[in-house]
């Protein structure tokens, strides 16, 4: 039950993720908040990697770091992306601290109490082939439902972002902005 290098790695990556997460909500530079989010998500990918879930780790990097945060940055730049601190960010600190800290401590207490020192044996196959057969044999229904979710997401994106194009009645001029 000694401390192995893997445990040190896990703790270090967890600390990085946590620290970056705190910086995401506390920095006054909007774009830099997005960058700290990249660090936090990257550290999470590292956690997956150390837990020997390689495919999940790289999917995390590809999807969250490579796509979702790019979307966030685009969204920030669409509206405003000021260089330097934004003094008008209006966040009641004590409420945020209470909610965030409370949720974090509560979850940590719950999980630590639930697992303690119990160990879960690593399933024999965690490679892409095994995950593939698992997803496409056992979890068929969630997988197919997911495609409907993607459909809804795309339709939502179109309806929200561009009400001016392609609709049945293109009467008046374009919406501003």
């Amino acid at each position: 039950m000694g401390i192995e290098p893997v445990d040190v790695l896990l703790a270090g990556l967890g600390a990085i993720a946590l620290g970056a997460g705190v910086l995401v909500v506390s920095t006054r530079h909007i774009v830099r908040a997005g960058l700290w989010l990249v660090v936090a998500l990257g550290a999470t990918a590292g956690l997956y990697l150390v837990l020997s879930a390689e495919l999940v780790a790289w999917v995390q990097v590809l999807l969250y770091v490579g796509a979702v945060v790019v979307l966030l940055l685009f969204a920030v730049m669409l509206t405003r992306a000021p260089i330097g601190a934004s003094p008008d960010l209006d966040r009641p600190r004590w409420a945020g601290l209470l909610v965030g800290g409370g949720a974090g401590v509560g979850l940590a207490a719950l999980l630590i109490d639930a697992y303690r020192w119990s160990r879960v044996p690593l399933p024999p196959g965690t490679g892409a082939t095994e995950i593939g057969t698992e997803v496409f044999r056992t979890w068929v229904l969630p997988f197919e439902v997911l495609s409907v979710l993607l459909l809804a997401a795309l339709i939502g994106a179109i309806v929200l972002s561009r009400p001016d194009i392609g609709a049945a009645d293109t009467e008046t001029g374009r919406r501003e902005g």
Binding site: S52, L78, R80, P82, A128, G132, V148, L154, A157, G166
Partner: protein, 121 residues
């Protein structure tokens, strides 16, 4: 444990980062430094830089839509990879599944196309 296979990758990353950081930090030291106010302005083809709009400029929403489309297709690709790797094990069932999945995403794609979301006017 496959973690040891990542040590060389981390090593190459560290070497690349050391090289990049070193050369980027050494350049201002060895290079000359001659102050000129005009030189430090944003470049706008030699004319006086126009003031930036308050709160930053606004950009076409098309970029946002492109990123959204990218996420949806990226998720689809991510599911295609394990499917492709275990393709020979899944046989006909896997094929039918993936055809259904691709068809549903294709419906979304066709919708976006019809609504003009792929046009960059």
């Amino acid at each position: 444990m496959s973690l040891s296979a990542y040590i060389p990758i981390v090593g190459l990353l560290a070497l690349g980062a050391a090289f990049a950081l070193f050369s980027v930090s050494i350049a201002p030291i060895v290079g000359p430094r001659r102050y000129n106010r005009a030189k430090l302005d944003a470049y706008e083809c030699g004319i006086e830089p126009s003031p930036q709009p308050v709160g930053g400029g606004r950009f076409p929403v098309k970029f946002y839509l492109t990123a959204m489309l990218f996420i949806v297709f990226d998720i689809e690709i991510i599911f295609l990879y394990p499917w492709a790797v275990s393709f020979n094990k899944l046989a006909l069932f896997g094929f039918v599944e993936m055809v259904l999945f691709i068809a549903t995403v294709f419906v979304a794609y066709a919708y976006v196309w019809r609504r003009g979301g792929l046009d960059w006017d």
